[in-house]
Symmetry: C2
Subunit: 137 residues, 2 copies
């Protein structure tokens, strides 16, 4: 089996970069700075489906992404989650949250998605690609 990104994730995101284990994606939702990590291993649904060494790499990648988002977006809180009730491929949400955002203090899942305008998406994507350049673990 070869890894391939789930079509729903492909449709809803823009790619930022590859880290050691995971693809790093930007969710196409202008309400929230919302990144997604997808470990590039086939047939993985749960964290526990990963080999133990990959679970630890994933934790390091979650923390790397959180730290970059804290520095870049200056949020009030980082939300991290692995849900997968709709898209079965293991993917980790890392979302920068603000007390004034569209869903606070609730979770972002289920909140209305407002897609980025193409120009705004390209602008933020370009900045994030720079932020993560040369920072794969």
């Amino acid at each position: 089996m070869i890894f391939s990104l789930h079509p729903r994730l492909q449709q809803d995101t823009f790619k930022i970069t590859d880290l050691t284990l995971s693809q790093l994606l930007l969710m196409n939702n202008r309400n929230f700075p919302w990144l997604i990590l997808v470990p590039q291993k086939p047939e993985i649904r749960e964290l526990t489906d990963l080999e133990p060494k990959d679970r630890l790499i994933l934790m390091e990648e979650i923390c790397l992404v959180s730290e970059k988002m804290q520095a870049f977006f200056k949020p009030d809180k980082i939300n991290v989650a692995s849900l997968g009730n709709l898209v079965p491929q293991l993917h980790i949400h890392v979302v920068a949250r603000y007390q004034h955002d569209a869903a606070w203090p609730g979770p972002v899942w289920g909140a209305t998605c407002v897609e980025c305008q193409e120009k705004a998406a390209k602008e933020i994507l370009g900045k994030l690609i720079t932020v993560f350049k040369a920072d794969s673990l």
Copy 2:
């Protein structure tokens, strides 16, 4: 600084056991089998506030708890999340989800909380204490 459990977590949960790093708690909500890990370190809000070695222990504990819940509750999916928009002390939700549960496919946060009756809570708590006995990492 000494670790002490946030009053809101104390009020909403029952204690199952101590693992190496975290307290393991059962959420008092009979809609979902819902466990919570709280790393026993003072003044921690984000995953990135933990020391790197504790982040890895936490990932191992999340996976241990997930595996025990998979074996015991036979869910369709495990949801894992660190949110903390309301309770600032770092705590990790590990929730066993079913396609027929009260919030599927949405997240459990924000869904109505139906507290366990005392007898039911004690019964499930007793079973979970046995499941996790002698399984600290």
